[in-house]
Amino acid sequence: MKLYAYCLVDDLDTLDVQRPGILGADVRALKIEDLSVLVSDYQFDAVPVTRENALDHAAVVRSVLDRTTPLPFRFGTLVTEQQLRNYLSARKPSLQMRLGNVRGCVEMSIKIIWELTQHDKPNPPDAATNQGAGTMFLAEKRREILGDEHRSQAATEISSWLREKVSGLIRDEQVTLRPAEKLVLSAAHLVDRAKLHDYKEAVAAARQERPELRFLFSGPWPPYSFANIELEFKTQFGVS
């Protein structure tokens, strides 16, 4: 019998999770040293990626967010109890540090979409049409490169602008820029609950400043984007 792991917490003596977990299984807290992991029994070898299972995972993690700030496990984490004990024992300092980093916070998500055509090809095509094929090819490549650079600069400007708007209101951030794509920016902000209202107002005001951009703003989430210690673990155990 394996365990399906939902999230990790360290500051709750009792965890009374009322809702069922994956496949309707009861959710319980497995206390290991000073940490607790929300788990349910799981009898299969893999977790089907379905809407219901993903939402069940999210709902269990979400169910403790009112009382604490958990470190969510990624969907599909199946372990034996011994594996879980070994993992927590080996990584306890890092996990406690990570829990301390997110304590009292929630994650807010901002995705920004732009129209690529606004940032493509900053220079018009060369007027001369009697150039050779080689010259025209090089000119086109030059325009492409200039366009890439222009998009990168524009994306960086948006990122800097957004960071300035939420300055002082976030504890941490994870930002991904994709200048070549419509979804140009994905940001996860770690926000102290006491500052959440001010943060939302700041984002709302920022949206008004940039009507040419489309915003997808969601939250509060458990701190999924600030949970992972995967790289440290890989380094320790030599996993590449």
Binding site: P48, A58, R74, F75, L183, S218, K234
Partner: protein, 73 residues
């Protein structure tokens, strides 16, 4: 920590129900604490929401179109 947290809200021009689901999937499937080698998922019975999630990585807008087409089918 006794103050309850707001319900998750999504603010956007699009229908929030679809985007809310995709945002949830984006968080649950792409992020979170990983125990190396212990993520065991099955996509044999892949459903369209997972297709939508893959699209979300590159374009939320396209994902919305995919879902809308799916709803029309």
């Amino acid at each position: 920590m006794s103050a309850s947290v707001d319900q998750i809200t999504v603010i956007d021009e699009w229908e929030s129900s679809d985007i809310s689901l995709l945002e949830t999937l984006d968080h649950v499937l792409n992020r979170g604490l990983v125990i190396a080698g212990e993520i065991t998922i099955s996509v044999a019975d892949i459903d369209l929401i997972f297709v939508g999630l893959n699209v979300l990585v590159s374009s939320v807008e396209t994902a919305h179109e995919v879902l809308r087409k799916h709803q029309m089918e």
